[in-house]
Structures are given as structure tokens and as C-alpha cells.
Symmetry: C2
Subunit: 488 residues, 2 copies
């Protein structure tokens, strides 16, 4: 069968694919109904609606489910299939919440409106006789991360219809706070520890490799956020009357941010790279086996040059980042007015690698800011502080989570690789994803190993407007999930 | 009378003040009705409504008026009082348009809703028996620059009621595009040159001195704007998957902006300070006579330190500025998401002083950007350009206008000073305002001298939300305009 599999192609012999083909329209309609339930992390009533819907979807397929609840947090949808004679228990993780939605970014479409779009990005009716594999289903969380939840449900239908059997006990564990930093996941895992203890976490999140080959990922970068507000005059001032005399907080903020790096992607904050556990030989070797995608990506993104000292993209995931994800002061374009803004705010995501701790990394940034002469507060300054300190900023940070990396050569990993190869052909083994999923707490609380099996396309515009799932990735994902549900 | 006048006090003997006092409520009601007509520079239909209203206000007071029109530009309201035996013709300039309004900044009130607020900033009914002189009338353009238009109208009522006479021919020239940079004013002046030729332009715009003394201003800084957009990847990218490899355009923009200055208010762009005509001895002497306001302002603005090398605020007006009035990329706060933004934009206002040319100054900034390795375009890059150039930005600039300064010792200036002292007591003589009004074209086209007589309070929040006019400044302004209309 391996001879049939080239990059991006399908494993032709999988009967699950034959099951899916005549049912594509029904699958997409069920999926669209799931996408259209809003799932912003801060919107608890709608998160509960998502959880209820998912519970119904799995109950309908014969999976006993329950909602794990704790305080007023978004519930975890938990389901369990007990398999007689099973020697292992496999936990399938995904999350049903999505990133925040800024209405200003969604002027041409509604974030939660599912839309089928053809290769030319034109909206077409969801109901079609046949579906081109490169069409895409648009909508917030169509890829990140409702896709695996849908794929597993259809895989269960296929398994039943084809008379396939599970080898292991199967658990479903669908979180509702991942995009808010999984801030209560540790508490949930501790509370429900006995319910979830098993042999392996299969984390179903993130995109497959950029060449569209299926990948298995053995770790993730950790992540935390910081937001910095530099204070200027107590109110916005006319830039003619006071420009050149009143310090401009936006100008000062740009100076601070510029000083964070050398302009070529290297962070200059003291000890920012300290304590990093570099990739070992087997991790570097795995990366070397992966078909290079860098030239393709540079062309796709329209970039003449990239950072990372010429290393392959995946090797740069061994480094932490300090990404300026947003900056705001005054206004630009038609809204721009001639003022010295009263304050200027920038927000960053810090990606962490093995060996780094989220809190320590924030402390290093804080120390850098203090070294630049700033009074660093976690609140706006008082009038007294303003008159005493020339440079004042507020720094807030979100409780982040650390990186985790599982060994590439642990025994259960070999079984996962075989199952994935059955459905998807040769796989790409990735020591660490560049993205972040709260995995550290899984390992810390349950001491279980984990691997990630993503299904979304890499060009899914995850976290941005126009998030989408390529249809072929959904069909592939269903086969993949069926293989993992029956062959592990 | 001079003995009666201390800083901020009134010239008690002016009969115009006695005229105004019992009519304050009616004046404020007429003014509120003018403020509530929206006047954003880009909103031509509403600008025309303002022009019509002002024309009616002056016609009602017996001033023959007409609308000067040109193409589809906002009209100029022009009025003329011919005085038999007059030896001079004085042109009174003001503008009826206002700065753009960003709805995000106006969440607590409507921009064009006139509101009377007491000393505690509480809204109170417009109709009152007596009015505290420190109450303020809030609303866009309440100070900048509908206030002089209103003050002149009431001054005409007082002149008629008190039987005062004009000495000179009087002209009113009210522009509707000042906040858009007076982009068609030169064309208007050229077209209607014969209609406007006279002996003096009295420019009624801007605020009085910060100690609330009446000021006469002999010049203004020029102004232009630039907007810079730095381009990153063709679409926003997930900061986990691509952070540390794809260059972040917001980070790059902060680096560029940081390099514009030394962090202490000095611009580092080559030749930015070249060709400046410094203040001469009489200008420095005038500044030295002005009561210092710096400590007061620092306390009011909540600033421990200011820029300008320790010079008085007014002396810093002899320097050009490059003010970062707005910067935007991605989002901050709850809207912040973990992406590398596709682009980052910053907008600046450049203040110009005597000797500098707006175009040349923009060229100097452009040269600086090119020297940083950027391909500088005036449009978004093509795909080809993206793949060829690592650093690309778009720079757009608005057609600006240059600075102008009239000699402090020209003969007609002495008459203006005397008229102002009659209504307002000792005046503050200011060689140049920090702000900008399009005066260069007045001088270039008509070769007439000009001086500015502002009436607004310095703390009027001009250009910012919560723009307001202190009531005493309106009453003072009426007396001032009556004196200028009759004593010149």
C-alpha cells in the first residue's frame, strides 16, 4: 500500500473512505450545524450550547457521555467506550471553544456562519452532488478545533457500519477553554483524575504538515501573553501645542519594543534563551527526514526572507519567541487625528520551549523593562506616581503553560505510527509543534505520555478571519480517527 | 484700566460685557444649535448645512453674505461690511469644519451633542438663570473653531445695540476644510483674490495662553501628515506555527519608529533640522515676558519630565516635530489574538517651522526609510515585489502647508494690540503658535500680513473627545471681537 501513497494522496484501500464518500453532504450539514454555535471562550452560555450539542452527537452514536463540570467553568464533554478484554485505555482530546472575534475583522462575513467555498473562494451552496477535495468549509473553529470532534463522530458511524472493533478502551475528552489558555484544565484533571487515568493521550489539534502529509507531533511549545501599556499625559493632547515638549507614549513604546530584539529575530532580553533544552540527535534526525517546505511557504506568504538563521522552520521551534501580536495608540487612516495619545498598548505572545517556565520568562521581560528605567505597575498609575516617575508602564500577563515533549521512541508511539500509516500512508514525525496546546498539565497531573495527531490543513487561517477546513482534510481525518479508534 | 487687569481677569469697563450678561442663555442656545450640525471634513452635505446656517446667522445681523464655491469643495462663507470712509480692510478668518470622529472614542456621549457641564464635569441643563464662568459647553468644534464664528455674530449684535461703529471695512471668511489640511484654500484664494485683497488677515483660531490671558499670535507652525504601512506575510499567520521564522511587520515598524528619534525628543532623521530660521532676539524677548506655565502644565498633564532641553514650551515651537499620532497592528486587550499581523501602520504629523518646506521634510523622512533598507512604495506591494524585497513599506503623505511668521513690530500689529488690550487687558505676544493653521497660502497669494487672535481656553481638549469651550472664553471672545470690529 505504501507504493500508493505519495505526499498529499490518500490510502486508497481504507474502507472507511468508501463509507464516507456517499455521505459527504450529510456529514457537512451536521458539521455546519456545529460550527454555527458561537464558541468564543468568554461566552459561557454559548459554550454550554456547544457542549450540549456535542454530547447529543456522541450519545446518538451509542457513546455514554457526561459533562464534567467545575464551578462556573466551561464544561468538559467526556465520553467512554469500554472494550471487553482491552489492555489499554486511549484518551482522545480536542477542544470546542474558539478564539475571540473582533467585529472589525469580520466585515465581509459572520464569524460563525458556515460557508462552503470553492477553489476561487466563492461561496457555493452546502448541498452538492459531489465535493471537490480542495473546497473549504469556512467558519470560526471549522479547523481549530471542532474538526476532530466531527471526524471522530463520523468515524464511529463508519466503525459501526463496517463492523470494525475497538481494541482499547476509548475515552473522549473535549475541553471548552483551550483558547482562553486552558486556565482550569489542571483543576479539572485533578478533580477527575481517576476518571481519566489511562495509557495515552491523543491530542487532536493543530494542522498537518504543510505538504499535506499526515503528521504525528510529539510536543508543543508552551505559551503565555503579556500586555504593556505605556502612559503619557493624563489626556490626549493637541500635537501642535504640545508636540516636542510632552513625551509621546506611543513613541516610547516603540522604543521599548524595538529594544526587545536585534531586528533579525533574536531576542535581546537577558536570559531569554537560558535553560533551553535543545533538540537531541533523534529529534534533529526526524526533522531532516521531513520534506522541506520553506521555499513553498515563502512564496505562499510573499516573503523574500525569513528569520531563524537559515534553519528549517521546524528546527526553529526549539527556540522561544516574543511575538508582537498587537499594538494600538491613537488611530490611523481616516480616524487619525493630530494628538499626542494619552497611552499606548502592545500585546505579545511568548512561546516557550522545553526547559523554560512561563512565569520566569515573564519575570525576565519585566526585569528588562525595569532596566530601561520604567516604573512597572500592574494597574494604571496614580497622580502621585505620574509626577514622580518619568517613565511608567502597566504590565499584565496571563497565566501561561509550559512546553512539553514526549520521547520519539517510546513503545506506544510505534503503534500510533502504524495505525496512522494504515489510514494515511507515510507520516511526518515532528518533535514539537510550533503552536501551543496545554499539554504540560496532562503530563504533570496524569503522568501519561501523549502524542498529537492533527487533521486540519496548514493553510486553514487558524485564529484569523477566514478560518477554514479543506474538505479533503475532513475526509482524511475521519479515516485517521477510525484507524486510531480501532487499531491501537 | 490696565490696573484692573490681572491675568485671567476681565476688562471691567467694556460695555459689550454688560450687553452680553443678560443674554447668556440665548447666546448659548444659538451656539448649541450650531454645534449640533455635524462638521467632519469628509461629510460634504453636513458641511453645507453648517455653511447655510452661518450664512443665515450673519444675514440676520445685516451682513451681506455669499457662499464662495469651487468645484465640489466645501464652500467658504463670505460676508462683507463696507464702512464709509474706511482706510483699511480687515479680513476675519475662522473655520467651521471639525476633526474626524472615531465612534470608538465617543462611547459615553455623542460628538455633536452640545452639553453644558459644570465644574465637576456633570451635565446640567443648558437653560440656567446665571452661568458660572468656569462651566463648559462640550461638543465637537465647540472650541475649534466654531467659537469665534459665534463670538463675532454676537459682537455684531452688541455693536448695533450699543451704537458702536466700524472704522474699517470688515470681511468674514469662514472656511470648511481646515481640518482636512485646507487643501483647496490656495485655489479659493486665487479664484477669489480680488474679493479678499485688503490690509490684514485676523486669524481667529486656536487657544489663548495657558494662564488664560488673551494672546496675539504672529505665526504658526506648518503641518503635514505621513502614514507608513510595513508589510509582513500576505495574510495574518498563527504566531505559534510561524513565530520566530516569519518576520513580524509590527516589530519592524516599531524598530523604524524608534530610530526616528533619540528617545529624548530629538529627531535623528538626516537634515530634519536643516534650514530652520531660529527665533530672533525680539521673538525670544517676547517669550521671556510671558508668565511661565510649564510647572502648571506638567502637574495638569501628570508628567514628571518634559522634552525640549529645558526650554520654555513656547521656545520649543521654533523646532519641527515628528509626532506619532497613531499606530495599529493586530489588536490588544480582549481582541488580541496569537497572530503575526499581515501589516502594521503608523501615522505621524510633522510640524514645520519657518524655513522648512512640507514636501522637503517628507522627502527627508522617505530618504531615511530607504536608508533603512526599505522599498518605499505609495501603494501595496505586488506579489513580485514581495518576493524580491525583504523590507517593504507604503508611505503616503497629505499635501501639507508651511509655517508662517509675521514680524512682531509691523505698524498694524500695534493697532491690533491696542484693540485687544481695550477688551482684554494686558496681552501675551506669541511669536508662533505650536499648532498649525493654513496661513502660508494667505501670505503667498494675497501678500497681506496676518496675526492670530484666538479665544478658546487652552484646556479645551481640542481634537480629542470631550472638546469643550469654557464659558468665560466665549464671553471674553465676544468683547474681543467687538473691539477688533470697531477699533481697528
Amino acid at each position: 500500500m505504501a507504493a500508493l501513497c505519495i505526499a498529499g494522496s490518500l490510502a486508497a484501500a481504507d474502507p472507511v473512505r468508501d463509507y464516507v464518500l456517499p455521505r459527504q453532504q450529510a456529514i457537512l450539514k451536521e458539521y455546519a450545524a456545529l460550527i454555527e454555535i458561537p464558541n468564543v471562550s468568554s461566552d459561557l452560555p454559548n459554550l454550554r450550547r456547544n457542549a450540549d450539542r456535542i454530547q447529543q452527537m456522541y450519545e446518538k452514536r451509542g457513546v455514554p457521555t457526561r459533562l464534567l463540570t467545575l464551578k462556573n467553568y466551561a464544561p468538559i464533554v467526556f465520553g467512554e467506550i469500554k472494550t471487553p478484554g482491552a489492555k489499554r485505555t486511549i484518551n482522545f482530546y480536542a477542544h470546542y471553544d474558539g478564539q475571540p472575534v473582533d467585529p472589525a475583522d469580520w466585515t465581509t462575513r459572520q464569524p460563525f456562519l458556515p460557508e462552503l467555498r470553492d477553489q476561487n473562494n466563492q461561496v457555493i451552496p452546502l448541498e452538492q452532488t459531489t465535493y471537490n477535495s480542495n473546497w473549504r468549509l469556512h467558519g470560526r473553529s471549522s479547523s481549530d478545533d471542532k474538526a476532530p470532534i466531527m471526524a471522530m463522530a463520523i468515524a464511529l458511524d463508519a466503525i459501526k457500519s463496517l463492523g470494525l472493533k475497538h481494541k482499547s478502551n476509548i475515552r473522549f475528552f473535549f475541553e471548552g477553554e483551550e483558547e482562553a489558555g486552558s486556565i482550569h484544565l489542571t483543576e479539572y484533571l485533578q478533580q477527575y483524575k481517576e476518571l481519566v487515568m489511562g495509557d495515552l493521550w491523543l491530542i487532536c489539534d493543530g494542522p498537518v504538515h504543510q505538504n499535506r502529509q499526515q503528521s504525528i507531533v510529539f510536543g508543543v511549545r508552551g505559551a503565555t501573553n503579556i500586555e504593556i501599556t505605556v502612559y503619557g499625559p493624563k489626556r490626549a493632547l493637541h500635537s501642535g501645542h504640545y508636540g516636542g515638549w510632552v513625551p509621546n507614549p506611543a513613541q516610547r513604546l516603540t522604543r521599548l519594543i524595538s529594544g526587545f530584539s536585534d531586528g533579525e529575530g533574536h531576542i535581546l532580553i537577558k536570559d531569554f534563551y537560558k535553560d533551553i533544552v535543545p533538540y537531541n540527535a533523534s529529534e534533529i534526525a526526524a526533522i531532516k527526514k521531513i520534506p522541506p517546505v520553506e521555499d513553498l511557504l515563502r512564496e505562499e506568504f510573499g516573503l523574500a526572507e525569513t528569520e531563524g538563521d537559515g534553519k528549517p522552520l521546524l528546527e526553529t521551534y526549539s527556540r522561544p519567541t516574543l511575538n508582537l501580536r498587537g499594538i494600538r495608540a491613537g488611530d490611523v487612516g481616516k480616524g487619525g487625528v493630530n494628538v499626542i495619545p494619552a497611552e499606548a498598548t502592545a500585546t505579545f505572545d511568548i512561546r516557550l520551549v522545553k526547559g523554560l517556565d512561563a512565569k520566569t520568562q515573564v519575570e525576565r521581560v519585566t526585569a528588562h523593562l525595569i532596566a530601561q528605567g520604567y516604573l512597572v505597575l500592574n494597574r494604571p498609575p496614580t497622580d502621585e506616581e505620574r509626577l514622580k516617575h518619568a517613565k511608567i508602564l502597566r504590565l499584565t500577563s496571563r497565566e501561561g503553560y509550559n512546553s512539553v515533549r514526549s520521547p520519539l521512541d517510546m513503545p506506544i508511539a510505534q503503534d500510533v505510527i502504524k495505525a496512522v500509516e494504515f489510514s494515511s500512508g507515510p507520516v511526518v514525525l515532528i518533535p514539537s509543534s510550533g503552536g501551543s496546546v496545554p499539554l504540560a498539565m496532562f503530563v504533570e497531573v496524569t503522568k501519561m505520555p501523549l502524542v498529537m495527531v492533527p487533521i486540519a490543513n496548514h493553510d486553514n487561517n487558524q485564529h484569523a478571519p477566514n478560518e477554514n477546513l479543506r474538505l479533503q482534510n475532513l475526509w482524511d481525518g475521519i479515516s485517521l480517527m477510525a484507524a486510531l479508534l480501532t487499531r491501537l
